[in-house]
Symmetry: C2
Subunit: 113 residues, 2 copies
């Protein structure tokens, strides 16, 4: 199946995972994978959260984000990928104060019945 993100509207999620501002998402979720075209505006963050029985994979399409990954800090630039495996925690913020960061995210469930 094809997801044509350009024909979809962002849904704005306030204080995503307890973070600042909002996270804008074009999301598809079949209970097995969440597949998201996401946008993080300047000044916006996601709060620290643990992926207990799933994971998150983020490919940065444009812009740049800074992440807390467990107890470390890392930066993900456009063309790079951030991976948070199950059992690990992460939080993210836009590194720029003028441009949004656009990313492609997959949150797959690892323990389906």
């Amino acid at each position: 199946m094809i997801f044509d993100f350009d024909s979809e509207e962002y849904v704005s999620i306030l204080n995503f995972k307890g973070g600042e501002g909002h996270f804008d998402a074009k999301m598809h979720d079949d209970g097995k994978c969440k597949i998201i075209l996401g946008k993080v505006e300047p000044g916006c963050t996601s709060g620290l959260h643990t992926h207990e029985r799933n994971a998150e994979v983020i490919y940065v399409i444009s812009g740049a984000i800074a992440l807390t990954y467990d107890d470390e800090e890392e930066i993900c630039l456009s063309g790079q990928c951030h991976y948070c495996p199950e059992g690990h925690a992460h939080a993210m913020r836009n590194l720029s104060d003028s441009e949004p960061a656009i990313m492609f995210c997959v949150v797959p469930e690892h323990h389906l019945g």
Copy 2:
């Protein structure tokens, strides 16, 4: 963790899943997710294969691919996503005869112990 694909080399996989030519991959695999920056050159295809206990999510970064998805044909352009859920089958080919298609792929396992 961060994967910096620009600092990595492609590994060329001949006749990928029984397809024509080769599939070039910068791949990370921890047994839970395969995370791949992939390139399909003109004339190259992947053969039809079923994702039995995992899935595949493909985000096309540049170029365009045509896919067989179960018994249907579909096209995935840059900025779009192709999703093959578990239990479904797909095959892919580059739509262009002059440019490679570059894609970001995630193959997550859904039934880990």
